[in-house]
């Protein structure tokens, strides 16, 4: 009887590591981000993010623009928090000029910033469900987001790239319908937000996909510079609205949402609770918009005094810092944006190791990356 030759692919029972490219055209990366994955079977060994596919050199472009013109460029960084980005640039210019804006401006800016935050979190909620496999959430989130977009369109003139802030105030006064529409939205959204929990948060499949996945410890969150809801889910208190109140945040009462679990589900929960808090902030301010001017008169050509200025704000994704070096001319010598997306992306390798490829999609979803914000 002839001997049967036994064939083994891996003599020592080893498997072989291999690369795959996730992106730049991948629906789960929400933009043009390329992740080089080193895999062992389905287990992630290493994630190398490769950036630059949508780099437009916004920081360099600011060196040729006047301070008024810079504002509209920041719409295109984190397009989901466009209003908050604009506010950051305006605040740094006002800080440098030692300009005190009227209370009306501060309150309207805060209301719009919180509406932007809700709109951003709504879009995030929709696509998170979609990434994990629940297509319905997308439709529900966009239904409610449409109301905010309408408010923005009526008040600011555009749905996404608002450009409503100018250094020294607002472009126009608020629209006569503004308060009525915002109140209608709050009333509508308060009945819809509990539905979100019933639809997705308690769903068994969603829970199994998110609980205990992609755990980020508080120490790692601090050392990687993670900010925003992603860090707060790990128990790091980092809300700029609380730490360094700007605009009207010092006169409203709200809670900083913290969680200690640090997994994908905790990041999800923090964002859901943040929507409630944003609603709470808007409710306190919407009836108390002070009378006054909507703009402070500034020079036709804004020139900042020589020096360095820094202002940070809390966008929907985390801390956005604007650093300006001025040499006294009409455009900045150097402008640097510390974007939340870039720092949050740096932790993805650390968080995703040891999990499966499908878990990476869930992890990416709850870190809520906006790729133009990472590349700028």
């Amino acid at each position: 009887m002839e001997e049967v030759k036994q064939i083994t692919l891996h003599p020592q029972g080893r498997t072989e590591e291999y690369f795959i490219n996730m992106g730049p055209q991948h629906p789960a990366t929400h933009g043009v981000l390329r992740l080089l994955l080193t895999l062992d079977g389905e287990i992630i060994k290493r994630v190398d993010p490769d950036l630059g596919y949508i780099h437009r050199s916004i920081e360099k472009m600011t060196e040729h623009d006047t301070y008024r013109q810079i504002v509209h460029l920041t719409d295109r960084m984190d397009y989901l928090s466009a209003h908050i980005n604009n506010e950051a640039v305006c605040l740094v210019v006002e800080k440098a000029l030692e300009l005190e804006v009227p209370d009306r401006v501060k309150v309207v800016r805060t209301i719009l910033a919180e509406l932007t935050r809700i709109a951003s979190h709504l879009l995030w909620w929709g696509v998170t469900g979609m990434d994990i496999g629940a297509l319905t959430t997308f439709m529900y989130a966009f239904r409610d987001r449409e109301m905010i977009n309408d408010i923005m369109e009526e008040n600011c003139g555009a749905r996404l790239t608002m450009n409503y802030n100018v250094p020294g105030g607002l472009m126009w006064d608020i629209h006569p319908n503004f308060q009525r529409r915002v109140k209608a939205f709050i009333k509508h959204f308060k009945t819809k937000l509990p539905e979100f929990d019933r639809l997705l948060s308690d769903n068994i499949i969603f829970r199994k996909r998110t609980e205990g996945i992609g755990v980020l410890s508080a120490e790692d969150a601090i050392s990687f510079g993670v900010t925003g809801p992603a860090a707060r889910a790990s128990g790091v208190s980092c809300d700029i609205r609380k730490k360094q109140p700007y605009s009207a945040y010092d006169r409203v009462e709200f809670k900083e949402i913290l969680d200690t679990r640090g997994d994908t589900f905790a990041r999800y929960k923090v964002r859901i609770h943040e929507m409630w808090e944003s609603l709470h902030i808007i409710e306190q301010l919407i009836d108390n918009i002070p009378e006054g001017d909507y703009q402070v008169k500034t020079n036709a050509v804004i020139k900042l005094p020589k020096g360095e200025y820094y202002q940070r704000v809390e966008t929907a994704r985390g801390e956005l810092g604007v650093y300006v070096v001025s040499d006294g001319k009409k455009s900045p010598y150097r402008m640097k944006f510390r974007s939340p997306g870039f720092s949050n992306l740096s932790v993805i390798d650390h968080v995703a190791r040891g999990y499966k490829v499908a878990d990476l999609v869930a992890i990416m979803a709850t870190f809520d990356f906006v790729i133009p914000d990472i590349d700028r």
């Binding site: 623009d65 008024r68 013109q69 509209h72 460029l73 319905t136 239904r143 449409e146 309408d150 369109e153 009526e154 008040n155 600011c156 003139g157 555009a158 790239t161 450009n163 100018v166 472009m171 126009w172 629209h175 539905e195 019933r198 639809l199 997705l200 308690d202 769903n203 068994i204 499949i205 829970r207």
Partner: protein, 158 residues
Amino acid sequence: MSYVGEIVHGIRTLLTGMAVTGKYFFRARKEIITQQYPDNRDQLRMFERFRGEVVMPHNENNEHRCTGCQACEIACPNGSIEIIWDRKVDEKTGKKKKYIVKHIYHLSMCTMCNLCIIACPTDAIKMAQNFENSVYDRSYLTKVLNKPGSKLMDGIDE
């Protein structure tokens, strides 16, 4: 949780979610928010502040309000506006006065930031509510805003 308990719990959470979608399935007619866009073009009204494209309004005598001061050209962050101007002798005063030959607007480069409208001292340009800008060739997006043969409205000075 026991094995059976987990199955029961799983089914219950699935049904809770289904109840939400089921509710909308049966009362879909009460909450229709979809717009039948190309069909409702005639009724569609954009908000008055909506920024579509820059236009220059002319009155019935083919007169506009643009003096050619170039404030919009300077204010524009991305070079979407170019003004070709010249000087000619004004018949009434006998002085040389600036006038626009062409107010060229590159819609393809415009980001609708509204800075030109704010910069304009004579309200000569404004934002239109038109949003259907697709054309077959990019060159169609370069527009001359002042109509042929148009002139400056009386009583407007630099």
